[in-house]
Symmetry: C2
Subunit: 412 residues, 2 copies
């Protein structure tokens, strides 16, 4: 692994200084290679699927592992889309003169070498590689062993793309998954790896965060809330509460707990119940909720559970302070929304809720790299330092100071 690390470090200097056209050429040539190699990709994927069935993988895992023609086309379009995004690298801002005479600003620069650790979905190979490459970083990819043939075939397409653009092969490296200790090395080589992005289940991410000796951009849970304030517009409240829960159940920006102000709970909860009944969403309520509508009781554990399923916990709260306290205590600092027409309470919610995305009168479903205009995202960070929320190309860079002078020296 230290050989992989050293090659990545060397390649990172070259990709960091590559111009936008060269990086785009590599991305588009990779897309062409994928289109040309569709049958080889399907064949490699079949080998993984056969092995997976033999190993007794669940249907859900086999589904994630499968490269359908649509998913292959999705990868091609993803590469084209990343090529069309603006290049953040080298962008200079805030070049202002200081009293000493120097002109000081900031330049956006790649992070260096990024390690991505992920599980069964082979399309992550292309998504992650394209975002890292466009943002001027070298990347080391460590996918799941069950996707090894698919990942190697995709890596072959990327290598073709790099070659067409005249970029070093080590800009994107796929780690041999038969090396069981590879992950352990990857997360403990600060001399070669600048940041780790784990993508997968909570267990994987917790394990990696625990053991890493390199900074980790991580996303653990999405326990998102909608709080319906006493002065909410009922129409907006019902639409947002429906959309945030039922648009998709298995995504991290789905609402998992609904908070309703006690002043409007008796009016709104029955309407909400009929909406959720229509979608087959199971409700688990606090005692006050249970007094107003017929539902299961919520346990203490429910308040911090990411269901990723048609289940919703519902709590009646006593005003804004109670709502904010609940969210900051039980939430996962991902995305939370208030529905209100009250200016002061909206403003307080915005400032005091400690989450990566805080919204007024909008569905939590908008918390997403595409909706935020980032083009694509490598993940949604629930960390506090560096990047919070959807991490796109800019989140894979940082800023250095640049100084233009005219021979200035500093007085004692």
């Amino acid at each position: 692994m230290s050989g992989v690390g050293a090659s990545a470090r060397a390649a990172s200097a070259e990709i960091a200084r590559s111009d936008t056209a060269t990086k785009n050429r590599a991305l588009l040539a990779t897309a062409e290679a994928i289109q040309a190699m569709q049958s080889e990709l399907s064949e490699a994927n079949q080998r993984d699927l056969v092995a997976g069935r033999e190993k007794g993988l669940s249907d859900a895992m086999l589904d994630r592992l499968t490269l359908t023609p649509e998913r292959i086309q999705g990868m091609v379009e993803g590469l084209q889309q990343v090529a069309s995004l603006p290049d953040p690298v080298g962008s200079i801002s805030e070049m202002d003169y200081r009293p000493s005479g120097i002109q000081l600003g900031k330049m956006r620069v790649p992070l260096g070498v990024i390690g991505i650790i992920y599980e069964s979905r082979p399309n992550v190979t292309i998504e992650a590689a394209s975002l890292c490459l466009k943002s001027g970083n070298a990347v080391i990819l460590r996918g799941g062993s069950e996707a090894i043939h698919s990942n190697n075939a995709l890596a072959g397409c990327i290598q073709q793309g790099l070659e067409v653009a005249g970029l070093p092969q080590a800009v994107v490296q796929v780690v041999d998954t038969t090396d069981r200790e590879a992950v352990g090395y990857l997360i403990s080589m600060p001399e070669y790896v600048d940041v780790i992005v784990p993508r997968g289940g909570k267990g994987l991410i917790e394990r990696i965060s625990q053991d890493a000796r390199v900074p980790v951009i991580k996303h653990l849970d999405g326990v998102c809330h909608v709080y319906i304030d006493a002065e909410a517009d009922p129409k907006k409240a019902l639409a947002i509460a429906e959309n945030a829960k039922t648009r998709r159940y298995g995504v991290c920006n789905a609402m998992e707990t609904l908070l309703v102000d006690s002043l409007v709970a008796d009016v709104l909860l029955p309407s909400l119940q009929s909406i959720y009944d229509r979608h087959g969403v199971e409700l688990r309520g606090c005692p006050k909720t249970q007094a107003l509508i017929d539902c299961q009781p919520a346990t203490e554990e429910d308040w911090s559970t990411e269901y990723l399923a048609p289940i919703l916990s519902v709590k009646v709260v006593d005003g804004l302070d109670d709502a904010i306290q609940h969210i900051n205590r039980y939430g996962s600092h991902h995305t939370d929304s208030i529905v209100t027409e009250n200016y002061t309470r909206g403003r307080r919610f915005l400032r005091e809720v400690d989450s990566a995305s805080v919204m007024i009168n909008a569905s939590t479903a908008f918390a997403d790299g595409f909706e935020y205009g980032l083009g694509a995202e490598i993940g949604i960070s629930t960390d506090k330092i560096h990047a919070r929320g959807p991490v796109g190309l800019v989140g894979l860079t940082s800023q250095k100071y640049v100084v233009f002078g005219d021979g200035e020296i500093r007085e004692p």
Copy 2:
């Protein structure tokens, strides 16, 4: 320690939502308390100095430990200055409409709880506490055991300041240094501490980075370079090479290695030598340097050594690529400067040197929070993620996404 952490976490919510006036009141009241308690502070400091002499601390350590009237006045002025700085918290930027109708922007928010681990200088107590408080963070301070009486006396002043402003005492906590395991706990409580800033010698910082389970904003070395290009203006080159080395020797932004292009080495090195002779700076040169001027030979180790002393290593390089390679290999990614009138080489140096501050025609001595207009700094980061270079108030915050909507829901 988990009690300290839990109190800090609770206090962090309160300081995060405090308005600018309240935070400034706490800072100015702390300054007043320090002025009123000057004799008590000197007395407490005397106890540390007596104990330090008994323990046989070096003169340099005793000097750092001493609170002279000037240093006490410096702390008072520092507090007043931080109070006068703009408050970064709550600042909203880039509120643009998205095609969905939502209006998306970013709000600057505190990091939460910051742990500061430092060595003998008691004035760090006030510097660190004031920056954390103003940026809306709670802070846990763990100073050196040799400064315990001074630090406790200063903590008393801060507590007075917090009380005057009606802020919770746990916004600033000073850890009892008799608890030898406190540092170990402090750096491994991600549930209570969001980021660690170690301030002190390289040994301390390396140890903490190694063991921390919390992100660390760190500054290891300052191995800074000046590269004199073939097309440098000789007057600027000599002035910058003199200033970057001789302004102060013991600071991290001092030049430690001078690189001179081989095309101008024979003309410039003799002039440089006479400048450094006048200052009593010892030169250690590569073989080509030794062929041109009389000096000691530089060893491989010299190229990566932070002397913090009147010693300079000098290398003759073959053009820009050689210079950039040397800097990225042996430097510490702190601050590096090129002296040149050549547009293309200046531009390449700016982009390709991978350091927190990269300069053209300016002395490395400018790499400093005050010169950069940050007002004050908690340290100079040589990390890649989050903040690079001098870390001021803004570096102690991050950004969350905020969304203003009008009842928007996301389509499938």
